[in-house]
Symmetry: C2
Subunit: 230 residues, 2 copies
């Protein structure tokens, strides 16, 4: 094993590991605040979430750049390479969790003028608790390299999917009772949303491609989106 032993190298690795944990903590709070804003119709909480979004995007760029730098300059061993790749991929997911939290905050704002429903969103509250625990356990599994924690999140995901399907079905049925046209409008919005997201992903790939084309040296990363090293 060609183990790198330089203290500088170790501290670079530790810095991205801690950076990832820190970003995770921010994102976790965004999810907590956004969902609380939704179930309590709290517009101020929703605004807080929207304000925090930019910072998370920035954290993702910085972490990603640092990981690439370490890979390029240090030629990490298999284990360290796995850590760096895990962080690079995990960042993308954290950033998108942040996006979803922001969307929830926007929806909270949209319905805040209505009275709370009689059941106080019982199903969403239940789903919320489970998902917040998943995010916390995810960060914990990463921090402690705890396989059991990681596997519990992976199996909880099936439970969340089932909860979503049940909410989707019962509310869709409710809408259905109003009129078929509502059902159609609803599915049309969903499809438009999916198309919108496909556009986002295509844009992501193109941003990577721009980075691929323009980069002449990893020490001078310019992703064409104003992202800088730190």
């Amino acid at each position: 094993m060609n183990r790198h032993i330089s203290g500088q190298y170790d501290s670079e690795l530790e810095s991205v590991r801690l950076g990832f944990m820190g970003m995770g903590g921010r994102v976790e709070r965004q999810v907590q605040t956004a969902t609380r804003a939704f179930v309590t119709h709290d517009v101020e909480a929703a605004a807080t979430v929207r304000e925090g979004e930019d910072e998370i995007n920035q954290l993702e760029r910085v972490l990603d750049d640092r990981c690439i730098h370490i890979i390029a300059r240090r030629q990490p061993t298999a284990g360290d390479l796995r850590l760096l790749i895990t962080i690079m991929k995990g960042c993308i997911d954290l950033e998108r969790i942040g996006d979803e939290a922001e969307k929830i905050a926007r929806m909270a704002e949209k319905i805040s003028h209505l009275p709370l429903p009689p059941d106080q969103y019982a199903d969403v509250q239940h789903m919320r608790e489970l998902v917040i625990r998943m995010v916390a356990d995810t960060l914990d599994a990463f921090a402690r390299l705890d396989l059991e924690s990681a596997r519990s999140v992976i199996s909880a995901d099936g439970e969340v999917d089932t909860m979503f399907r049940s909410i989707d079905e019962s509310l869709s049925q409710e809408l259905h009772m109003h009129a078929d046209s509502v059902m159609q409008s609803l599915n049309t919005i969903w499809t438009a949303r999916a198309l919108e997201r496909i556009g986002d992903h295509a844009k992501n790939i193109c941003e990577h491609t721009v980075y691929l084309i323009e980069g002449t040296d990893v020490r001078h990363l310019d992703r064409g989106d104003g992202g800088t090293l730190e």
Copy 2:
């Protein structure tokens, strides 16, 4: 520059590059078929999309594994490292575009028993054309390392976002006329969906963490999800 000149190495790089293009082509067809199924209420086309989903997930795993192997064994130069990282990240987006296509196919099935609306989903059709072009241009920009193509996709994304907002607003208003409760149900479904997706992302990070913990050698990648090298 410590340029690798081995023919074997070059063919490894070319193979992942072509693999990415091939995966992109599959995903592009999934988007075409799924959206056609939606706007024409074609359940058979929708079923085809659902059948194609597994293969795309499999392609993503294979490509990702190959990229990691090349990085670990070949210590690629800056430019090659950028190519490999672009492919690894691009794969994730392609796979998620495939997911969205599958969701559109499911929605096509849900509404297929209804008559086509008078406007034949004119707005969605318009959005569809733009997004399909974006996906095609994305692959083209990557294949030819064409900055202009890449930038046209990045700017088209803003147009798609605007189209989505306009569809969302006009249909939400339509729903709003029925009753406030519909508006609430709608936003509740959206929030449940966002929570469901947050769960997916948490699960993704945990799968990377499992891979990080269990891998003892990048030549024996076992991601704990049955994914194999090829």
